[in-house]
Assembly symmetry: C2
């Protein structure tokens, strides 16, 4: 077999927004699984905003991608060769690694998935890291209650769409913030949110109109102007679930930059007894994956939860798709489909 | 009996820092307790920073003092007349109200105190609202663990001194921030803190020197430059207990001002999984008062917990003492002793 492993490397560290020249496509030899490992042929790659952080050489919760290293991501694929009794050729698995066509992985790092339960790509979205992120953040921090107002930014994105729908299931009134009329219409009509706010329009006026009772839970995916507009609207005992601040991922040195724009004055945190809390899904999420998956599959089966994917064909198109995602040009969970 | 009730009223709403003309001393007639009420002769008044907020006509967690109304505070005193079987003349009680010499209070609003357990004025400090504040904030939010670094601002103040000592009892390394050498020496020698930082000096250099392992818990009493210096030092999973931000209580409209200075960029909240949470002791604290009091009395009896009061004699001196407290001129828990 002369098959190779096409893959995309970090060619240089981006200055601000990534450009195509920051990435390099190469053909590598096919890796060999060691004893206890599995060779996974990737079928779908997950492109997610956190990967922008890995391109910087900055202190963070995870190590940066090395210069010349394979770009990081999770992948869903099928076992191409197994040196572990738990997996056989053809099995679908979650846990492939990197912007590449094949990866070798320790068997215990892989989660078997059943393509009859849901399309395999959903293991990267509604049933994967983004869905788990929504579930963990709402369970541990957001805790929406019936009648409360939950505002979610990046509402049509991989995490936001699940946050809003889980909020509805919990009985909250859900207001989604998204960029453009198409995404707002989607949030209202397909996801069943109660209201939608287009962040390209007048944020303050739209929030006035859609959040007359204030905000109890704000799911923060974006930062910047959206954060500034929502923050003053918190009710007493409001919760701000800090999932990400994509608006500043492209600033000089990412979220850690000393030159990052200032945030809100924290006086209202005392007065209103607010809770502002960040989390990273990998800290405690995967230990609870089985419970999460069962719950969400139940919601899907009952018709209470939908998902939208933005599927881009071909590894070579990953850099452009990723660059577009950071500008909000994707529509739904972004995945790369490999042949 | 021709006794009167000298009291201090809010003469006008302060513009920025209060001045003596914002207060007015008057002699009112002695109030009569109704059935079920008690007339309390105040012995000690508690002056606390939160009372600055009550002088503004701004939306907050509690109603402002009315113009021409009696300035708000808690008082400890003795029953002068009782129309409730639970109290008799001479009993010591916590729960008198206002910058005045007498108040009538519903019997169920009063907590009997035993002067043999501790000096009665401590019911306004280490065994009262400030001590309870420290205990609630550490129990619910700060949760210091052995070996962690706890930084407390306004460290020699009514709340800060208890926070730091409870932190030491929990096994944390405690760094106190205070204004001036005298208060810093006090924190080290009398309170047993591990290090002290004088916020009038070079904050950054002193924090570099005293917090080499970063900060796990920051008790926020002050805001402003101290907050800005501590915030970047949080370790992963750090907790910021938002108790108050006295540095901005005197800005135009208090903490609610739209023109309040910006706060920290919240990017690190995600990356480091920080929890920033505000609380008001009256929400849930008094329901737990008995447990708090027993615990703290135990610490005092065992010699693990001390307190320092700044006692000012005479009602007429209350405004000046209050003004000074907002500038950090008190040293320890500020109480007014009445004759």
């Amino acid at each position: 077999m002369t098959e190779t492993n096409p893959r995309i490397l970090l060619a240089r560290r981006p200055k601000g927004a990534p450009v195509p020249e920051d990435f390099r496509l190469e053909e590598a030899p096919l890796p060999d699984p060691a004893e206890g490992e599995v060779l996974v042929r990737h079928r779908f790659l997950s492109l997610d905003p956190y990967q922008r952080g890995r391109m910087d050489d900055a202190k963070s919760y995870a190590k940066p991608v090395a210069l010349g290293g394979v770009m990081e991501c999770q992948a869903v694929g099928q076992v191409a060769a197994s040196r572990d009794p738990r997996f056989k050729e053809g099995d679908w698995v979650l846990g492939g690694y990197g912007w590449q066509t094949f990866s070798t992985r320790p068997a215990q790092a892989l989660i078997p998935i059943d393509p009859k339960e849901a399309p395999p790509s959903t293991a990267l979205g509604v049933l994967g890291m983004p869905g788990l992120t929504a579930w963990v953040g709402l369970t541990d921090i957001g805790q929406p209650k019936p009648g409360e107002t939950l505002v979610v930014s990046a509402a049509s994105g991989a995490v936001g769409q699940v946050v809003g729908q889980l909020g509805k299931i919990a009985g909250a009134r859900v207001v989604g913030i998204a960029g453009g009329q198409t995404k707002c219409d989607f949030a209202l009509r397909e996801l069943g949110f109660d209201a939608a706010v287009d962040h390209r329009g007048d944020l303050v006026a739209q929030l006035d109109a859609t959040c007359p009772q204030g905000v109890d839970v704000y799911w923060e995916n974006v930062g910047g102007a959206v954060q500034a507009a929502v923050f003053p609207r918190f009710n007493d005992f409001g919760r701000m679930v800090m999932c990400g601040m994509i608006a500043q991922y492209n600033t000089a040195s990412g979220a850690a930059a000393a030159g990052a724009p200032p945030g809100p004055n924290l006086g209202p945190v005392v007065r209103k007894r607010l809770r502002i809390q960040g989390f990273i899904v990998s800290d405690t999420g995967w230990q609870r994956y089985a419970r999460f998956r069962a719950e969400v599959l139940g919601h899907i089966a009952a018709g209470r939860l939908r998902w939208k994917e933005d599927v881009v064909q071909g590894l070579a198109n990953a850099p452009q798709a990723f660059i577009g995602m950071l500008e909000g040009r994707n529509f739904g969970k972004l995945v790369i489909a490999l042949d």
